[in-house]
Amino acid sequence: MNLTPAGIFDVIAAIAFGAALGQALRLPAKKTSWEAKALFCLGLMMFMIVCVVNFLENSGISTGFAGYEDFSKILFLLLLMFFLYALGTRREINRRAESEKQLLASRQEYQSILNNIGIAVALLDSNMRIVSINRQMESSFPKIDFKTKPLCHNRFDPPHPTPCPNCPVEKTLKDGLVHEAIIVKKKDFENISYRIIASPLIDRTGKTVGVIELVEDVTEKLKSETHVRMLQSAVEQSSEGLAVLDQDGTIVFANDALAKMHGYEPAEVIGKSVSIFHTRDQMEYEVLPFTQQVTQIGSARAEIHHMRRGGAVFPTLMSSVIFKDQEGNVAGRVTTVTDITEHKQATEALRKSDDKFRALAETSLDWLWEYDENYIFRYVSPRIQNILGYQSGEVVGKSLFDFVAPDEVGRLKNILQTNPPKPINQLEAKYLAKEGKIVVLDTSGVPFFDASGRFRGYRGISRDITIRKQAEEGLQSALEKARELEEIVNRGFAIAWLWKAEKNWPVEFVSDNISQFGYTVEEFTSGQVSFSDLIYEKDRARVIMEVNQHIEAHEEDFLQTYRIKTKSGAIRWVEDHTWFRQDPSGEVTHFQGMTIDITKRKQAEATRRKLETQMQRMQKLESLSILAGGVAHDFNNLLMIITGNADLGLMDAPQDSTQAEILQEIKDAAVRASKLSNQMRAYSGQGHVGMEQVVLNDIVTEMLRLLKSSIPKKIQLECDFSNNLPFIEADTSQINQVVMNLVINASEAIGDNEGTISIRTDTFEATSEYLAKTHLDENLPTGPYVLLEVSDTGCGMNAETQEKIFDPFFTTKFIGRGLGLAAVFGIIRGHRGAIRVISEPSQGCTFQVLFPLGKETAKLQASPANTNVREWKGHGTVLVVDDEKSFLNVASIILKRSGFEVATAEDGRQAVDYFNRYHDQVVAVLLDMSMPVMGGEETFAELRKIDDSVPVFLCSGFSEQDAARHFSGGGLAGFLQKPFQIDTLLSVLRKVMEP
């Protein structure tokens, strides 16, 4: 073995590595890892072996491992690096674990601090996301889920859509400074105020990386501050003076009111003694005793007089209370001063008012009273003596119910004993007066209470309304009667009115039966319809004028008749009994009246008037007819004499002689007079003598043929005749006269103008209404008639003219006899027909004539005259009976010339006597109808009794109809209408004697 320096180094190295191995093995594995420690130890051991091998090699002892030296070095360095890496890793792990542990501890500590700090704290990052909050924050905002909504405070409750522009967190994040704000949140219907303080979190570089947000509930604090400010404001603005004095009476504080009360500014009095507010006497006699009382008792209250700047003295109510410092020593006193000048004045006014009230109560006509909670009277005014008859002293101390009528006690108790007590308002009740009579009182009152709110009784007033109640009962009774009367009125025909004497007469009352005119009561009372509106327009002015006239004449009660217009527009006649009402000055204020519908009465009156008119007309007509008939009769008798004598004279006078001409003129005049007489008879309805069954068309056609030449050429004649016209029973000559008169009348109505006359015939069904419009409405039967209608386009007539056109001698023409239409009228009347006139001025005129249909009647036919009858000679005796001697003479001459013996009698008795003796010699009897002693009819009857074989001829100035009426039994041989011709007489006799 060769020990070299290198070998020594190897030994040292081997020992060193071995020692290092030993140290390495003792290293704690948890500081590295056991794998790294093992490998490191393996490396040390391997290198130690290398060093041993090197020693052996260097010592000349070959081991055969020399080739692995370099490999071992590399491996060792590798293991060393691995070990160091493991060591570093473990160390880092341990360091981190330690740091985390410390951080956790630190955080817990921090959280503990935050949770107990009493302020809600949140840690926000730079994005305003909540990193951490404390328990206070959670409890302050329990509804917020900070994990899901980790936003700034403005998003807490309720969430804000956008950040608040005044958000202190945002400001802090922006400028890195501390900001704060007050926000108000509603919580459980209460506003909660939060103060938000945002402090920046700054990193090492000075950059703001987050915000510490402090949220403090300052609601109470703000309230307290507000209260303090309010108190301060109240003290400063109080109307009462307030001062704080120190122990020496120096003013430490004085509010504005106190200073102003005394005429100073607050700054002027602070630091001054209270003596500036008082005179010397006030200080000595009022303030000092008051101050002593405050010092002794601790507080005091008294009326103290003060003095203003300038010396004016005024009363005050002063209160003082001492206050102590922290050690309990009296530090001063607080004094309030109230100026009671107005209070004093008010008290004085109240006292005067109380005096007035008492005087009022003593003198009032009403009874004033007060009773306690047990309804025991404590005060009654003296007026009770006049109302109930008691003295005040008799009532005070007694119960209310002692004076109430027994039957009212229960009711009053129910009303009064309510809980809580209620005011009494016009409570009517019966009371018992001292002398026992019932008095009705109207009572009003109010409950009163003591300071604690306890009911202490009632105060009120009662009024005697006994007389009023009696009056009301009377009024009620009167109203009931009025209602009954109104009911009676409403059920009656008369409408009751009350209307104002104002424009249009507005109605205040109208009875319900106004409904008979279609109106309602409301239409009048509402003003929709006035009384004047009701009156027919054409009568309104007259009614108003009449009313005014009655007022001027002071006729309070008057009757009026006028027309009113119903709601449907119908016109009704009413009779209004009106009277008016005046005010004390005499001014008419109202009208009252009763209105009755008299329309039916009016209609009845009109009908009656019409009937009366018709009756008068008929009577006039009858009188005129009788007059005309009588005149015609006598006239005919005279004409008979004239005609007969003229005929006799002509028979004796030489033909063509002057005497014959004169006699012929006399005869012609007599004939014209006879025609006039016939017209008179026609007017009287007696003119027709030849009644026969005829067709109207035939008569009219024949008549028109004759009339055409008489009608001016300018007038056109139009005919419209109905075929198959039924027969009528008529006197042809009279119908001719009717046609002629009507056509001539139409022609004259047209005059010289151009025009048309229309003539129409037809059958016509006459109704009662139509017949009522006709003349000669003498109860003609309704039914078929034959119509003759003559129309013209002439000047027409007014109603007045139409009424008179049938009167005799009435004419509208310059000339005329005035008997034309009168004759038509008489003829139609004689034919039991009717005539109607339809005309208007300038509208032409239409005459409608109705003829009854024909029927068989007794017909007395006069024998036609025979031209050669004068040559005929009769024989035997003709008895001529007439009261007219001239007629007897003429008739005797004529008959004697014709060969007859003539016997005359001036009355019926003579005729009967003669006929009784010589009836076998009598061949014919000419019998007058109207005679004295015995009339023609009676005479005829007597003659028939004696001998009915002798023919009897009736000679009369009356018409054949009259004769036929009187001799309805028949037996007459013929009728001779006076005046008759000789030929006519002889023809009749010849026909009888030579049948």
Partner: protein, 94 residues
């Protein structure tokens, strides 16, 4: 061993030394400076092995083994100090 192999070992050794240096810097433990020194000495030994071929063989060889011995001492000190540190840390922690 050939020269190439020795050179390769030296290069690897240098690389490991650099790596160990970087690791030690991050650990920031003063005790480990001895480990680094030991590693540098082992690397130095590799360098001396190469230098033996260039001349002064004995001298360099002596230096080589001196490096081994020094390295061993460095590791011994390092391990001792490290063990004491771990012990102190453990004790402080407890």
């Amino acid at each position: 061993m050939s020269e190439a192999e020795e050179l390769t070992v030296a290069i690897f050794g240098l690389a490991f030394v650099v790596a160990i240096f970087v690791q030690l810097r991050s650990l920031q433990m003063r005790e480990l400076i001895f480990f680094f020194a030991g590693a540098v000495l082992i690397f130095s030994a590799s360098v001396f092995v190469i230098l033996e071929k260039t001349g002064w063989e004995e001298a360099f060889k002596l230096m080589e083994h001196l490096c081994y011995a020094s390295a061993g001492i460095c590791f011994l000190v390092g391990c001792s100090l490290l063990g004491r540190r771990f012990k102190d840390e453990h004790g402080g922690a407890s």
